[in-house]
Symmetry: C2
Subunit: 416 residues, 2 copies
């Protein structure tokens, strides 16, 4: 049985497939595994209580529960949810938007497939266009959105050492080259995998560049403002019609419901709805139904700021401390933890590739992600790409410590 | 802000987009609307009770509920669900399969996007291939799976009058032409939109043809065996490694959870898992979690046969009776109701197109689907394409009667 080229592409292996396979098989296997690789959010008791109570409330209204499971939502998402979210964002961020500016998707990954193809490839006139990632490393999940076509072009960051053993990436604004071969720009904020948070100035500079070129700036806020707001610096939530904001319920603690959200100009929202209809009829109803009350009351903002952010903030700095012990004497630097649920560790001069390090760690039951998967669109060879790993600190603290210790052992062995 | 050609395709309007928009806006609007257009399943009290109890059971096990909402499933779907379903199918159908032959998706629509692209377009060698639909009319949702590329070729059926005012489509086996430009064949059974159920002999003939060409036969069982089994004739459930079975939880009454299922040979399951990872990280967890017990106990089969099927069987024949009154004197024939949740009505010689009839009915608050959307890949002009409509009988009986009466009035006016 032969597959098309599309099928060959699917089965050739890719970073995100490996990541999700690892996550699935580690979850299925249980046992003595340190899962520091995947993007599962942490188990936060107060959030779990909130979700269970929300489901009980939904069940207490049988007619509403029946409608949630028994009807397709509109391809743009449930009207009441979209209206409630627009009202919340008007109220808390002062944005001039309505339900017409909000669409629901089956998770951010689906969002990006649509957005990246909406703004890349062949246009009615002019050259083919690509998506510009102004700062890599950037999210591994973007890489295959072209389904085999190379739709990204990317820039290296400048690297700024911070203190003894930290560093920070900055957008190299001088190297930004935007012409009619660029259809859109995209950045995650906080950045997945590094936990970097672009400064307000950096975001403003990117917005200016995009506006002058007449292309949108896509802001991936899966970990960002206004919720779940896993940001440890000051970062202003921004929106106007030149921006496309991608949000998600996953990192509040709900990845299983697969709910992504897009806030954008109306033509983009209409395109997202059409893509939902064509690719999946409608987005899933559970996530929006479960969080409707939290959005109508504004609880979602309070939970983000008072529960979710402090949980990860504490873990981030605990894990940095653990790493400092485990990596002592090694040539390591950790990206300054400014948000998200990962630490990005750079072992300068690492004698093996990060893929080989990943393999050795996996053989010892420790799952991380090799750094080189996080440079979609960056053609030039650059040793730095092979010297970093992404480490999630969202899981059980004991496992994180155990895993970090083993990372230290394996890196030490590689340098020996 | 310019869109790519992909974006232009998305926003140009298509049958499935219109259908889902209609469904969404009718649902949001409420009021005096007869929704006979969309694919929402009926509200069956016993099923709603079952789903609510299943959710209560899930909530009574907080650790399990927390895991369902709080973790990504594996990209192939939850391992326990896949094993349970394989065991059920081994037990009830005698198929030689394991979890390795089962994948979960975000609904059948997502399944078809992947499968159709897996078996069409460019291959490593040989000519470009298409998906052959051996009998049209066929499901409207397939039509845009090529995202603007024409990936279907299709055959007309032979039409067999049955009694005074019924008819049945049959696969025109003599017209089947399968060569190396065909990558796979696909049929829905029961057929959406007609409620036709291909006979076992027809299925066997298609399997033989596919096997001799070395291509898979995709069987869309969204309404079929073994669940929800909305089939009023005898139809044998079949599986072997040359078949790809597509199932769904939607028509049991759970469209909101967006759960599709594929049963197929291992390489296809691996491709589906990879596509899930790339397009949506993982399928939603709620549907599989909600129905796990029903699958482990076999309740899902009993519910299908004892609750779901009789519900639609009764409604089908009630609605035929209503149509006979409303359409009296008109040149109508109804496709013999053999399954699914629709009636397919043919007004031979209709002086307006079915799209115009759709528009006039919508203006009166009655939603149906124009027949011409259901002929993907059928190039030849054929008046029959414009003389049919799909009418759902899943909804409230009073609304169905009211809607059918208005259809009768509008068709009578068109013929006048």
């Amino acid at each position: 049985m032969a597959f098309s080229r599309f099928g060959q592409f699917l089965t050739q292996g890719s970073g995100i497939v490996q990541l999700m396979d690892d996550l699935g098989s580690a979850g299925d296997a249980g046992g003595d595994i340190c899962m520091l690789g995947g993007g599962n959010p942490g188990a936060i008791g107060a959030m779990q209580d909130y979700f269970r109570n929300a489901m009980r409330t939904l069940l207490d209204d049988p007619a509403r529960f029946d409608a949630v499971v028994g009807n397709y939502d509109s391809p743009h998402g449930d009207a009441r949810f979209r209206e409630a979210l627009a009202a919340l964002l008007r109220r808390t961020c002062g944005w001039d938007i309505g339900a017409r500016n909000v669409a629901v998707t089956n998770g951010s990954q689906s969002t990006f497939f649509v957005l990246f193809n909406l703004f890349s490839g062949a246009y009615e006139s002019g050259p083919e266009r690509q998506i510009l990632l102004p700062l890599t490393p950037e999210y591994i999940g973007y890489a295959d959105a072209g389904l085999g076509r190379e739709i990204f072009t990317a820039n290296r960051p400048s690297i700024e050492p911070v203190g003894e053993d930290l560093f920070k990436y900055r957008v190299d604004l001088n190297a930004l080259s935007v012409d009619d071969r660029i259809g859109a720009m995209c950045v995650s904020r906080p950045t997945n995998p590094t936990g970097n948070v672009l400064t307000d100035d950096e975001v403003d500079a990117l917005r200016d560049t995009c506006r002058s070129q007449g292309i949108p700036l896509i802001l991936d806020c899966a970990y960002g403002t206004p919720f779940p707001n896993i940001i440890f610096t000051d970062a202003k939530p921004v929106y106007d019609e030149d921006l496309v904001l991608c949000m998600s319920l996953s990192k509040l603690g709900l990845p299983g419901v697969r709910t992504g959200i897009v806030v954008a100009a109306e033509p983009i929202i209409r395109a997202i709805g059409a893509a939902n209809a064509i690719l999946s009829l409608a987005p899933g109803s559970f996530g929006p139904a479960l969080m409707l009350d939290a959005i109508e009351t504004g609880d979602i903002i309070a939970l983000s700021n008072d529960v979710v952010r402090p949980f990860y903030h504490g873990k981030a700095f605990d894990t940095v401390a653990i790493m400092r012990q485990a990596f002592e004497g090694l040539p390591y630097r950790i990206h300054q933890p400014e948000g998200a649920i990962f630490l990005w560790v750079w072992f300068e001069g690492l004698p093996i590739s990060s893929v080989e390090l990943y393999r050795r760690l996996k053989a010892r039951g420790v799952y991380v992600i090799a750094g080189e998967h996080f440079f979609p669109g960056l053609e030039a060879d650059w040793p730095h790409k092979h010297e970093c790993i992404r480490v999630s600190y969202a899981g059980d603290a004991g496992r994180v410590r155990q895993g970090v210790d083993i990372i230290g052992e394996e890196v030490r062995r590689a340098f020996a």
